[in-house]
């Protein structure tokens, strides 16, 4: 379980997070919705300790991670997998080396075992036999899928997805959504998905929360999100430029 209380973060002149309270239960998939620049990715980076908050607490399985040393944080991070918005594959490594990096660095498995695990994870995301390719030669959708294979290589308890379908065509986006659901079922992980793609959000979410003006202003199931009377959520879900959220 992840428990966030009173999380605040200012970046330059903007108060990006202004007292975020959020509980993520074990095994559920929570989608964090919000406009571009609303602080969704910043929230995600705080959960895995990549950013340090100005105030507030984050507990992972009852253990406070704010204020931990980098070494202590590394122990926590080993329980996480993260898919970055740009996939963030290491350019200098092959696909196989990218997916197997954590296995080599932390589990010190033999080469054959690493190759086997890498092949298995790549097959999960429908990309068998591309281990020797370099990230530069992959399409956007393939990069995301390799990023996903890398995120699940270490059998994490938690997976964080930062805009998993942004920039992808609808068919590839749907394939990524199906993958997120199938990995959820296969591994039983707790997932946090940050997105402003509502089609994707409805497909993968057990629960949806809305981040607006630095705070969580709504939490509900996909069905509750569709029928809510919360004007902020309604405007966002309907994609309207008129309402309480200023368009520009």
């Amino acid at each position: 379980m992840i428990r966030i209380r009173g999380l605040k973060k200012r970046l330059g002149p903007k108060q990006v997070l202004d007292g975020v309270d959020l509980d993520i239960e074990g095994g559920e998939t929570v989608v964090v919705m919000g406009r571009s620049g609303s602080g969704k990715s910043v929230l995600l980076k705080h959960v895995i300790g990549l950013m340090v908050p100005d105030a507030g607490n984050i507990e992972v399985e009852g253990v406070e991670i704010v204020g931990m040393s980098e070494r202590e944080l590394d122990e926590v991070r080993r329980r996480f997998g993260m898919l970055f918005q740009s996939a963030a594959l290491f350019d200098s490594l092959t696909v196989g080396e990218n997916v197997g990096l954590g296995l080599r660095e932390h589990l010190h498995l033999k080469d054959a075992e690493v190759r086997q695990r890498v092949a298995e994870r790549l097959s999960w995301v429908g990309l068998a036999s591309i281990e020797a390719m370099k990230p530069a030669s992959l399409s956007g959708g393939m990069r995301k899928r390799v990023g996903l294979a890398r995120a699940v290589a270490m059998d994490p308890q938690y997976i964080l997805y930062d805009e998993p379908t942004t920039g992808l065509d609808p068919i590839t986006a749907d394939a990524i959504d199906q993958l997120i659901r199938s990995l959820q079922k296969r591994l039983g992980v707790t997932s946090v998905v940050v997105t402003h793609d509502m089609t994707s959000a409805y497909k993968v979410a057990d629960r949806m929360v809305m981040l607006h003006d630095g705070k969580i202003v709504f939490s509900g199931t996909p069905q509750e999100t569709r029928t809510t009377t919360n004007v902020v959520v309604r405007q966002f879900v309907e994609g309207s430029s008129t309402g309480p959220i200023r368009a520009l």
């Binding site: 970055f84 290491f90 954590g102 660095e105 270490m154």
Partner: protein, 267 residues
């Protein structure tokens, strides 16, 4: 209300001074982390060898050309200054000593600093702005251990190797000019090299090269990690890494020359 000009000036100087102190502090923290992760970073020997190849093999041609012409110019300049003052049989020794004490390590430092410092800063800067550094940290892999240690160690190991090579090529460049253009016999030039070669001269150049390697690797990594923004940020980081490397190579050359020739090799 507009601030009085001298007050604004004083504030600007104060801000820049504070920025500079903060930057020195951040470099010191990076150096502490390099020392801390030296052992674990060296366990991935393959990555160190890969970086040694990038630093050394990649700079080979550049060092070759620069050194060859530096030796040749040193011979021409020395011959001009010797005219009617010093016998030409000392030409080889002057070329040799000026090359192995000063020109070899410093020019290698500047050339490699420009090429490798820029390359490291651009690579790490691009990794920073494309979230690859964050991805490493998210995988519980410390970027200093994985990225910085192999690059700094490779630069520290390869700079002395490149310097020896540079010394040899420069002496050959001086020989070519001395024999073909100045009219000194081959025997006179080589005898002069043998008569005046001192091991401590070579050692002083190599000690300098070790420090230059550390400076180039550390500055490239520091400015790469400090990159902000997109392509423009990467460009700025690259420029800063090269400028800092070259300036620090020259400053440390002066400091090391004092330490080496006034204390360590004084006798």
């Amino acid at each position: 209300m507009e601030e009085f000009l001298p007050v604004r000036g004083a504030r600007y100087v104060q801000d820049r001074a504070l920025d500079w102190v903060a930057e020195v502090g951040r470099v010191a923290i990076l150096m502490r982390d390099i020392v801390r992760f030296l052992g674990p970073g060296l366990r991935s020997f393959g990555r160190v060898v890969q970086q040694m190849s990038a630093v050394g093999v990649g700079s080979l041609w550049l060092v070759f050309v620069v050194s060859l012409f530096t030796g040749a110019v040193a011979a021409v300049q020395a011959a001009y200054q010797f005219t009617a003052v010093v016998p030409m049989r000392y030409l080889g020794s002057v070329v040799l000593r000026s090359v192995i004490i000063e020109l070899g390590p410093v020019l290698t430092g500047l050339v490699v600093g420009g090429r490798v410092g820029a390359s490291i800063a651009a690579e790490l800067g691009t990794m920073k702005v494309t979230e690859q550094i964050d991805a490493l940290r998210a995988m519980a892999i410390h970027p200093v251990r994985f990225l910085v240690v192999p690059r700094v160690v490779a630069a520290i190991v390869m700079l002395p190797v490149m310097t020896v090579l540079s010394d040899a090529i420069a002496v050959v460049g001086g020989y070519a000019v001395a024999v073909t253009s100045i009219g000194i016999s081959s025997h006179t030039y080589t005898q002069s090299l043998k008569d005046f070669f001192l091991l401590k001269d070579l050692m002083s150049g190599l000690i300098k090269a070790v420090f230059f390697g550390g400076i180039i690797g550390t500055m490239g990594c520091y400015y790469g990690f400090a990159t902000e923004g997109g392509a423009e940020g990467v460009g700025m980081a690259t420029t800063r890494a090269v400028v800092a490397s070259c300036v620090l190579v020259l400053i440390s050359d002066y400091v090391l020359a004092n330490v080496l020739f006034r204390f360590i090799f004084a006798k």
